[in-house]
Amino acid sequence: MKLWNGRKSMVCLLVLFISLLAAVTIAGQLYKTEALVTDFSRKNMPPCFSHPFGTDWMGRDMFARTLTGLSMSIRIGLLTAAVSTTFAFLLGLFAASMGKAADGLVVGLIDLVMGIPHILLLVLISFALGKGFKGVVVGISLTHWTSLARLIRGEVLQLKESQYIKIARKLGHGGFETALKHMTPHLIPQLLVGLVLLFPHAILHEASITFLGFGLSSEQPAIGVILSESMKYLAMGKWWLALFPGAFLVVVVLLFHLTGEMVGRLMDPGALHQ
């Protein structure tokens, strides 16, 4: 008899991943002050025992900076993914249950947002809001709901054909009431998976837009800022400035991807008896 089936070990892995991500977020907060400490007696040090990621040209500890940057990225990702998911849910529901005109409007809006390349739209929104933190958060929240909204819309269209929704309508419940009371419980698992899978995109886009100079201001130790600063020192052979922060960003994003996939599989009734 097997003590550990696939499901149980998956739950354990999931808990491990989530606690890892939480640890990074919290540690980043704790290292916040140290990330800004400059000390010219230790500048440009390659990785060593006391500074595992080395130090930059102002003597700032790269390990502390990386953790703080990651923590900031995760928090922005959390915020923007939540806002995007809410948008996607409301618009998807609205499109599929409020008649043809609403449907056309939302589908057109999705095509419109998808038509401008993501990065360019982020640049435009950030430009419109005068750059900085607000621009990043608003920009990412406004650009990432499209694919999830499409998914929700499709799901609601399917649900509308099901018996119990039809019965609810025949019993005299309004369109909005049925949507909220009878459809929403069905959509929650999909929304949750969509939410987790939005994180990686949100985080990567936050880093990208900051890297280009439109995002967080350069005093903040964000991953994008660290990497764009490292570009100037790359030709001088200071490889550690770019390698570690980027690699850890990849790891964090990867963890989110895996978490999303696992949540999806755990919630999928078809995969229940694995």
Partner: protein, 336 residues
């Protein structure tokens, strides 16, 4: 008689798609215009300079703002801009001090082949790897390829570009560190080889990061096909695996893969913005970043519209492919 009717249907379908594209393009430009016009960055301050503005009299400022059109309502400004745009006059770039159409043309020719090559390479290799993984579901090959796809999907393009730069340009000194041509060389002396050598790293980065989408999609479709009844039947007939993959698998998954790849033009463009920035490659993406940072509104608007046009063209071709080429879709529309 029958063929003519279906021809008319196809024509109507094409017309509908083209109108849809034009409307969307108009809306994109309106949205972009709205975004730059609510920006707190004041074109008068950017163009004339704050110091000069401070020393001017109220009348002079009023005159200037009339010249720049800042006293007109935004809708009116948009219409006059859009009208000029349609006539081919996109305005003058403030940073490059050249007509926007000229700047975009120059940058686009640099970017276009970079994007085209990466698009082809990422599509081709992604499709091949996806097919390979899907046909061998659960085996070691599949696991390696899936892991690779997951990692590339999590890697920011600009960081990969930095790593390549570190390894190939700084450490191994094999390839140049940036730009599209050698520094200090006259345009006539630049050979094709120079251009290719400068394009290798950007192309490589873009191809690798653009691959994961198509790879995972193809893998999923291939697994579906391999579990289908007709593949089971083919196997029962004794067809070899490679024959099944080539004759039953690829035929079925090629079209959706092609559509997906056409729809991903927007992602390749986004990646090229970042990669061009790292390699200081003088392309459209870098121009967009410079325009955004420097408050060069005419150039930013021009690039937005042009890139949206490229993306919509990709989507348009994808829709047409689906609607016209696939016999199943054609039949489906007739029934409906």
């Amino acid at each position: 008689m029958k063929s003519r009717r279906s021809e008319g249907k196809i024509l109507r379908f094409l017309l509908k798609q083209i109108i849809r594209m034009a409307v969307l393009l108009f809306l994109v430009s309106a949205a972009a215009f709205f975004l730059v016009s609510v920006s707190p960055i004041d074109p008068l301050k950017v163009n004339v300079g704050q110091v000069a503005l401070g020393s001017m009299s109220q009348e002079q400022i009023a005159k200037l703002s009339e010249y720049w059109g800042t006293n007109l309502p935004p809708a009116e400004r948009f219409l006059s801009w859009a009208g000029d745009f349609l006539k081919g006059d996109m305005g003058t770039s403030l940073l490059y001090r050249q007509p926007v159409s000229h700047v975009i043309g120059m940058k686009l020719s640099n970017s276009l082949w970079l994007m085209a090559v990466s698009w082809l390479v990422s599509g081709g290799i992604g499709f091949a790897l996806g097919t390979l993984a899907g046909a061998n579901k659960g085996k070691a090959v599949d696991k390696v390829i899936s892991a690779y796809a997951l990692i590339t999907a999590s890697t920011p393009a600009f960081w990969l570009a930095l790593v390549f730069l570190m390894v190939f340009a700084v450490w191994l000194k094999m390839l140049p560190i940036g730009l599209s041509v050698p520094i200090g060389m006259e345009a006539a002396e630049v050979t094709l080889k120079d251009r290719v050598v400068h394009g290798i790293l950007p192309c490589l980065t873009l191809s690798i990061t653009g691959m994961s989408n198509i790879l995972l999609h193809t893998r999923g479709k291939m697994i579906q096909v391999m579990e289908s009844d007709y593949v089971l039947f083919a196997r029962a007939r004794g067809e070899s695996k490679s024959r099944i993959v080539f004759r039953h698998g690829i035929r079925n998954i090629l079209l959706p893969a092609l559509t997906l790849q056409l729809a991903s033009v927007s992602e390749i463009f986004g990646g090229s913005v970042l990669v061009e920035q790292v390699f200081s490659y003088p392309g459209l993406g870098q121009a967009a970043v410079t325009a955004g940072l420097g408050g060069d509104i005419p150039l930013l608007l021009g690039i937005t519209v042009i890139s949206a046009a490229i993306v919509f063209t990709g989507n348009f071709i994808a829709n047409v492919l689906y609607g016209v080429v696939d016999p199943r879709m054609r039949k489906g529309r007739k029934v409906a």
